[in-house]
């Protein structure tokens, strides 16, 4: 019984940390006024290059600590670079952010599958990797370093957003870019920063999701809608870091349940929840989405979303 609970809780923390990191990334982007629907694709892109680095560095036998640092660095850089695809055209050309985000999601999966198949000697799109370097064993409870990174990101982003001049200016760009500009703020610069942070954190979040939860990664299934779930977390978290962390924990409870509901219920209550009694993992996966839809229905009248999100900023427009 203890073993099942330990697995359950470790899953909760893995998903919660990953969801929180990506959602906080999305928060920076939306707070600056740009909606990043392309989070899913950015995760796939950043995660792929991270894993590539990981397997590559293992094969040349580098020190584990160095491997961890370089892998994370590459994922962050790849994610940030990929998000520039959105930033440049959304900021300078006023392109439709939803369309560009959708294009980015499709582009990332296609690119990554082509590259993965090309690199693999057997033309498969699955990458196998070793995760030892990222895991700190602690009795029954494995702790991965993303947990620490997540906590640091949570604190830093809360502080940056609400306690610094940078945060105030970023929020101003998302609420009312015209008056921000009239106060001498470079709206373009802050929107760039917002989107790039979202890309970097999406790359990191992809690793936080992929590495601790499995030992191989399939490029075609990507991150299985995790980027979209992060958008839901962002809304549930009302665009605030601490609430996002809470929402991520809440969502990941159901995600973890969808993975180990059978063992858990059998160990705790002695019931077999199988297809025969009408329970499958899809049932648990559905819950977070339905809840956020219901929440949206009740709160959207007086939404706490940044007022100018999704709207292009043009100089001289009133």
């Amino acid at each position: 019984m203890g073993a099942q609970l330990a697995i359950f809780f470790s899953y909760i923390f893995i998903f919660a940390v990953a969801l929180m990191i990506v959602a906080i990334g999305g928060m920076f982007s939306e707070r600056s006024g740009i909606v990043n629907i392309g989070l899913e694709g950015t995760m796939v892109f950043g995660g792929f290059f991270g894993l590539l680095t990981l397997t590559g560095l293992y094969s040349i036998g580098l020190h584990p600590a160095l491997i961890v640092m370089l892998t994370i660095l590459v994922a962050i850089i790849a994610g940030a670079a990929y998000s520039l695809l959105l930033a440049t055209v959304a900021i300078h050309l006023n392109a439709d952010q939803t369309l560009i985000g959708t294009a980015m999601n499709l582009l990332a999966t296609a690119t990554v599958v082509v590259l993965a198949k090309r690199i693999s000697p057997y033309a498969t799109d699955t990458i196998e990797f070793l995760k030892d370097a990222f895991i700190i064993p602690l009795g029954k409870f494995d702790i991965n370093i993303f947990l620490f990174l997540g906590i640091i990101i949570l604190i830093v982003s809360w502080f940056a957003l609400f306690k610094t001049r940078f945060g105030l200016r970023l929020r101003a760009c998302g609420e009312n870019p015209q008056s921000a500009a009239s106060a001498g703020i470079n709206v373009f610069k802050f929107r760039y920063i917002g989107v790039i942070i979202s890309g970097a954190l999406a790359g990191l979040g992809a690793l936080a999701y992929i590495i601790p939860s499995s030992s191989s990664w399939n490029a075609s299934s990507g991150v299985a809608g995790f980027g979209f779930l992060a958008l839901a977390v962002l809304i549930f978290g009302a665009w605030k870091p601490v609430r996002i962390a809470g929402a991520a924990l809440f969502f990941s409870f159901f995600m973890a349940l969808s993975f180990c509901y059978f063992d858990l219920f059998y160990a705790l209550f002695g019931v077999e929840l199988s297809k025969n009694v009408g329970v499958t993992s899809e049932l648990f996966k559905m819950i977070p989405y339905i809840l956020s839809l219901v929440l949206l229905a009740f709160t959207s009248r007086k939404s706490r979303a940044p007022k100018a999100e999704g709207q292009p900023y043009e100089r001289g427009q009133r």
Partner: protein, 396 residues
């Protein structure tokens, strides 16, 4: 050469000349430019992957669908084109009223569910299956519309949520109370429609499956018909005008006495119905069976439908060509040597094209400005250019 071009332009009748510089023509030019640039980028990527084979395999991808597989390839292209076209037209329809139907994937999933349940479980005639697919798709599309109209929920966010809810719901259903119609021996895919209920399969006019492929059906005719009807509905009717008007300016249409709320719901219902139809055309033609255990990714066709919509610059007739092109290269890409050039190259190219067409929507806005600039240059009054810049930019 330049002189010849000018002479050629002069020799054209006035109507042709006008058509060549109309806004519609500019849209067509920019679409073609996007496609060409997308293909060029795809070619460059193929050169990077393997310079020696790039030329041959690139040609194979473009023409292979027709050349390599002969008539069977043509049948396959038509079979993959039909659902794609429907999804494209559905997305266009919603976008005209200013709604980005990113929930297309969810409506497609529900549409396929309606079609397959009525084909495999109730063994109905294909017309009924199609009808049910449309109803399922329409009902699912009404949810984001109602949420938008009555609760002010952004349709992009609710659409994304509903996509995944649809996928989980459908797969849950197949695994539990509808487990009779999935085949555990075939990795939990839905059973083959033609084996269980032959009357549910779309008719193929008695064409020989050995010649034109076993996925060839009347699906493409239905899809093209839908595209034409949608075009007429949008461009030639009062209803279509109302829809487009509420897309341009919500407040003005309200002032003019048009019920924008009702229109938004009707549009989404129609959009969802067309997308659901697309799903029926895919699964009732037997292109593929539904995998009831894959809950990690949404079907690709409706996303490609969004691509079709934007390559076609939101014109249903253009969507016929766009979906034909996408199907051509996606079938062709299976004819390349897979170990060197995986078939996802065609996805990559289409993704690049849709990214670029996201930009042309922007560049098209500058056409009036460019036209004005050209005119002013002829008249020799470059000073007033600045005014026209502000005029075109501050317009919205």
């Amino acid at each position: 050469m330049e002189m010849n071009m000018k002479d050629f332009m002069k020799s054209l009748p006035n109507r042709t000349k006008k058509a060549l510089i109309s806004n519609g023509a500019y849209k067509a030019y920019s679409s073609i430019a996007c496609v060409l640039i997308g293909l060029l980028i795809g070619f460059l990527i193929m050169v990077c992957l393997s310079p020696a084979d790039a030329f041959y395999d690139f040609g194979m991808m473009i023409t292979g669908g027709l050349k390599y597989y002969e008539l069977e390839g043509f049948g396959n292209i038509l079979a993959t084109m039909a659902p794609l076209l429907c999804c494209g037209v559905g997305v266009i329809f919603a976008y005209k009223t200013g709604i980005f139907n990113i929930g297309a994937a969810g409506q497609y999933v529900l549409g396929s569910f309606g079609a397959l349940v009525f084909a495999l479980q109730f063994k109905q005639h294909w017309t009924i299956c199609i009808l049910m697919a449309m109803i399922f798709g329409a009902l699912w599309a009404c949810i984001p519309a109602l949420l938008k109209v009555f609760c002010n929920v952004n349709e992009v966010i609710s659409g994304i949520m509903l996509n995944w809810i649809a996928l989980f719901f459908v797969n849950y259903s197949y695994q539990t109370y509808l487990s009779d119609i999935v085949d555990p021996a075939n990795s939990f895919k839905t059973k083959v429609v033609s084996a269980i209920s032959p009357s549910s399969v779309l008719p193929n006019f008695g064409a020989d499956p050995n010649v034109i492929g076993n996925t060839f059906t009347c699906a493409f005719l239905i899809a093209i018909l839908i595209a034409v009807v949608a075009f007429i509905l949008m461009e030639k009717t009062t209803f279509g005008y109302q829809l487009k008007a509420s897309g341009y300016n919500r407040h003005a249409t309200k002032y003019a006495g048009i019920n924008a709320k009702k229109n938004a719901i009707i549009t989404m219902a129609i959009s969802g119905a067309i997308i659901g139809l697309g799903a029926a055309l895919y699964y009732l033609a037997g292109v593929e069976e539904w995998s009831a255990q894959i809950s990690t990714s949404l079907p690709q066709v409706p996303w490609n439908g969004i691509i079709v919509a934007f390559i076609a610059q939101l014109n249903p007739i253009g969507a016929i060509f766009a979906s034909g092109f996408l199907s051509l290269i996606s079938v062709g890409s299976t004819a390349t040597s897979q170990s060197v050039f995986p078939k996802e190259i065609s996805d990559l190219i289409t993704a690049v094209i849709v990214y670029l067409s996201g930009l042309t929507a922007v560049t098209l806005r500058f056409i009036p400005w460019i036209k004005a600039k050209l005119k002013k240059k002829k008249e020799g009054e470059p000073k007033e250019m600045a005014l026209s810049v502000n005029g075109s930019k501050g317009g919205k």
